[in-house]
Symmetry: C2
Subunit: 219 residues, 2 copies
């Protein structure tokens, strides 16, 4: 019976961080790890590691810690890496290109299989990752049963692209356009807003400078 408990974004983010760190530890020759080690490496508390593990049904040995191989295997299955995850990109501009060339995905079982763009200049079906015209997107996604899409088109085109995606088997979207997408059916949408991130850094740097004061004494 499903408990209906759903891990939140942060919990899953930590899980992937654990996994990445475990890969590294393994490559360094380690075979077992303690919650303590892992916590230090990822930058959280040991309590948190154990609680997260408990949450995902991962258990270790009361004195020997956790076997790295078993841990990696368990996480692989949790993160759905039994099969390769096919992803398409819409928008082959700079960000799209950056993602197409990003090496990190391969070892995580994520594979970007195609990109789409309205600009005929950017279309090229003979690259490692082919870039097709926009019209091909829906047929392609349906035929290959694509579950994941990345949106890197300008803001004014993002909702339109998203609507088109919702008319395919796509169930998860990573959105780089700086806006909230409105979904007409269930779909997991995560936003990456580089502008906001940079502005946030700017804020903190300035705040530090002017010895900020809040509420009572503001300007």
């Amino acid at each position: 019976m499903d408990k209906g408990i759903r891990p939140n974004r942060n919990t899953v983010l930590r899980l992937t961080q654990y996994k990445n760190m475990l890969h590294r530890l393994k490559s360094l020759g380690f075979e077992r790890v303690f919650s303590d080690n892992l916590a230090g490496a990822v930058g959280v508390t040991a309590s948190q590691v154990r609680r997260d593990f408990a949450f995902f049904g991962i258990s270790g040995n009361k004195r020997g810690g956790y076997a790295i191989d078993a841990l990696i295997e368990k996480m692989r299955s949790l993160l759905g890496k039994g099969s390769i995850q096919k992803v398409i990109i819409v928008g082959a501009g700079h960000i799209g290109q950056a993602l197409m060339h990003y090496k990190g995905f391969v070892k995580e079982g994520i594979r970007i299989v195609a990109a789409f763009d309205i600009d005929a200049q950017k279309q090229d079906q003979h690259q490692r990752i082919p870039v097709f015209s926009m019209e091909c997107m829906q047929p392609y996604a349906r035929e290959h049963d694509i579950k994941l899409g990345i949106i890197c088109v300008p803001e004014h085109a993002a909702q339109e692209v998203f609507d088109q995606m919702l008319d395919t088997p796509i169930e998860g979207v990573l959105n780089f356009a700086p806006m909230r997408l409105i979904a007409h059916r269930d779909c997991e949408v995560h936003n990456v807003n580089v502008g906001l991130e940079l502005e946030t850094v700017v804020y903190f740097v300035n705040a530090k400078h002017q010895g900020v004061r809040y509420a009572d004494s503001a300007s």
Copy 2:
């Protein structure tokens, strides 16, 4: 006397979202806004908007809501946009290029003034945003009193670049390399890890599929 209260990342993220939305509302001809409107537009509760505003010392009229112009002005000063924020980029690969071409920064008072790369091929001092050799980074940052840097180099070079930045006036860094940077002095570091974000989406999509169950019944 400084209260020592420090807004967290999420609060500041919301603040910038409010600001962006206010710009949009203004361009649509609105002059005043209620916490209710703004909340709906950004996707939070009205209570949250009012609490955030109170936190930053922003006040409105008990019946007339908030004057958009005054609100924008207030936020501009809070987010440190009195002067233009100069930013440098290290690593002129795909992500670096994407950021150099990103239009959104200009209107926020953020200006990317230069980029640096070890690859002589990528260097070009005659573009709108010049790309210099790595050796120029520290002298440039010192001479122009740069406070903000963006790291878009491969993982193996990121810490080295960061160390170099810490030897300049830089106080805030946006890091795209998928690793934790270690700081030898105080510096505001925010990480953008696209790989993690995508993996997180993958997780949720898979979880939905296999009707996940946790803790008790796992594998």
